[in-house]
C-alpha cells in the first residue's frame, strides 16, 4: 500500500502514520504527508498513492474539492475521509465525489485500522 495522509493537524498525521505500521495492514509505504488540499494534489501527482486518508476542513483547498480532483487524477486510488463533520449530507457528498469510506473523528486506533483494512479489500 502506498499511503498518503492529508490533514491540517500534524498530530493527526503523525498518529495515522504510526497506526499504519500495524501488521494487519501488510506492507505500507507512507509516500506523502500533506497539511492542505493544494499540497495533497501536488504530492499525489508525483507520488501516486493508492490509498489516501483525507480530512475535510483544511486551509487553501478543502477536502471536498480535493477529493473531486484526486478522483480525476488517480481514479484507482481509495480515499478514506477522516473528519469530524458529522452531518449526513457531507458524508454522502464526499462519497459521491469519489471517497470510498468515512471515519468520524475522534476515532479509536482500531476504528482507523478496521476502516483501512476494509478499504483495501
Amino acid at each position: 500500500m502506498r499511503l498518503m495522509i492529508v490533514d491540517d493537524s500534524m498530530i493527526i498525521r503523525n498518529r495515522i502514520a504510526v497506526l499504519a505500521n500495524n501488521p494487519r495492514l501488510g506492507k505500507v509505504d507512507i509516500v506523502g504527508l500533506a497539511g492542505d488540499g493544494e499540497q495533497a494534489l501536488a504530492l499525489a501527482k508525483s507520488k501516486r498513492p493508492d490509498v489516501i486518508t483525507m480530512d475535510l476542513t483544511m486551509p487553501k483547498l478543502d477536502g471536498e474539492a480535493c477529493i473531486s480532483e484526486l478522483a480525476k487524477l488517480l481514479p484507482d486510488a481509495h480515499i478514506l475521509v477522516v473528519s469530524a463533520l458529522s452531518d449526513r449530507a457531507t458524508a454522502l457528498r464526499a462519497i459521491r465525489n469519489g471517497a470510498h469510506g468515512f471515519l468520524l473523528k475522534p476515532f479509536r486506533d482500531e476504528d482507523l485500522l478496521n476502516s483501512l483494512v476494509e478499504l483495501c479489500k
Binding site: T57, S83, S86, D87, T90
Partner: protein, 156 residues
Amino acid sequence: MTCRELGPEDISIFSDAICEYFETTSGEKAQVRSAYLLEGDYPENWNDFHGIIPVHGDFTGTVCFSAPKQLLTHVLMLMGDSSYSDAAHLDLVGEIANTLSGRARKHFGEMMKISPPVAFLGKHEKIKTSRAGRPYAIPFTWRTYEAGLVVNLCTL
C-alpha cells in the same frame, strides 16, 4: 438582519460532543457541568491554550475551546505523540475545537460552515472576533483538569 440566539437544546449538543470526545480518546468521560451565559466575553477560569473555530454560512460567530497545558499533554500521551512542544499543544487545542464543532453539524446541518482552527497561547489573550450573540460557557472536568468551551453563535 435578525439573528436567532442558540437555546439550551442547541448548547446541549456541544456538551454531548465534549463527553464523546474524551470518552473516545481516553475511555473516560468528561464531567460536563451546567452551561451558563457569560456576562463578559470570557469565563473567570480562562486557560492557557485556546482553539477558535470561526463559523459562517447560516450561522455567525465562534466556538472556542480553552484548556490547560497539562490536559493537552495528557491527551498527546494517549495519542502516542511524543512531542510536547507548544506547537504540538496548539495543534491539539485547535484539533479538539474543530472536532467539537464538527460533531455539532449532526444537529445544525451542513449550513453551519466551519473554518480551520485558529490556535493561540496566553491566559490573557483576547478572542479577536465579533460578538455574535450571548456567549455560553460550558465548563467541564476531565480527570483532574478544568477546561471549557465558549459557544458564541447565532443563526441568521
